[in-house]
Symmetry: C2
Subunit: 199 residues, 2 copies
DNA sequence: TGCCATCCTTACCGAGCGGTACAATCTCTG
DNA sequence: CAGAGATTGTACCGCTCGGTAAGGATGGCA
């Protein structure tokens, strides 16, 4: 078995490159030409390896959450830190990523979801983006609900509302970052946001 | 003079319709077919009346700011209300608009600006969106800087930072609204945001 | 070496894009 | 009523879109 010509590209490397293109240009904005050029392969290769544009986007978005957003959310469970410190550190890392000039500005999920309402996005991809958009909020809600400090201050019952407030702030910073606002200006916004929910 | 066939459509009505299409689908997402269909005219009519797609978008965006966002910002100067009340009322009106099911979800400026970084948008339109995106923030900064309550609390020197925080929240709610989050869930976010800047 | 499965390259498909040429249609002026 | 002038509808332009068919290039295995 396993006869035949070998692949001339690494699927993981190509997927990483595709993710960056989607991140920079969104789903509709990223043409097959943009994608295959960034991936260093041509269309039939990408088609046989990933299926089609939508499937490639879904793989790329899953990779984005796993590699970028996912690793950051681990800081929420560092038990030596206070709730405030954990949330602050996590949000700082996310906004730093949004503003990092070495990667595309903003957030892949937020940017792509902006295209959803117009009907430009396939349904499967749209549902995935919804789920990913809620993931951060749910992680915040979980850690707020279970933190002793929050229970003392009576914040736990409102955990969902407060988490939505933080998640909304991060969507705002993603939009600001994409418009070119630097991290230095956005950092105080995190502080305000945390103060606003009583931390 | 003034000979020739009469226009069969009202330019203001057509522009309002075009604005709604751009609002719903963004700049790139709105095709000429979408636009002319929504406006109830055909392509040569729109071309002779507005020039081209970019010029139409600029007119539509200016109308959006003047008719939608602009009228709301007037509430910032109602001197009978406290600073907190004025900001809260204004933000509530903006978020209400973002969530209004009778108009497209979210904010035309925020949605369209998400497409900028990809290079899909002409430069003139991009600059205009930048200016409009800052308009709200600057209005907030102005009213915070000049409010006696803010001066007492020492907030005036940080007016720009605090205004950015509020503007960031509103970009976040625009993104949330576009993803389908209803006003009832977003309203408490406004309260958190204002508490967060010390009001 | 010969076979064959797999991949890469080129060239192409139908559809939709933004934009326009042209002629038919309408309306006001002389 | 004749004719000039502006707007209309139709049909089309070159281009790019996502996606694919066909054949040459490359490899493992007998």
């Amino acid at each position: 078995m396993t006869a035949g010509r070998k692949r001339s590209f690494d699927e993981e490397v190509a997927l990483e490159a595709a993710m960056q293109v989607f991140w920079r240009k969104g789903y509709s904005g990223a043409s097959l030409t943009d994608l295959t050029q960034g991936m260093g392969i041509n269309k039939p290769s990408m088609y046989s390896a990933f299926g089609n544009k939508e499937a490639l986007f879904i793989r790329a978005a899953e990779r984005y959450m796993a590699r970028r957003a996912g690793t950051v959310l681990k800081y929420l469970d560092v038990s030596e830190l206070s709730l405030r410190q954990r949330l602050e550190k996590t949000m700082q890392l996310i906004v730093t990523q949004q503003c990092d000039p070495d990667t595309p500005l903003g957030c892949l999920v937020v940017t792509s979801q902006g295209e959803v309402a117009g009907g430009d996005l396939p349904e499967k991809a749209s549902e995935l983006l919804d789920k990913m958009g809620n993931q951060t909020k749910q992680a915040f809600a979980r850690v707020i609900r279970s933190a002793p400090e929050a229970q003392e201050k009576g914040l736990s019952e409102r955990a969902d509302v407060l988490a939505l407030s933080l998640a909304t702030t991060l969507r705002g910073t993603a939009s600001m970052a994409r418009a070119g606002v630097p991290y230095a200006e956005l950092e105080p916004v995190i502080d305000c946001s945390l103060s606003g929910i009583g931390l």
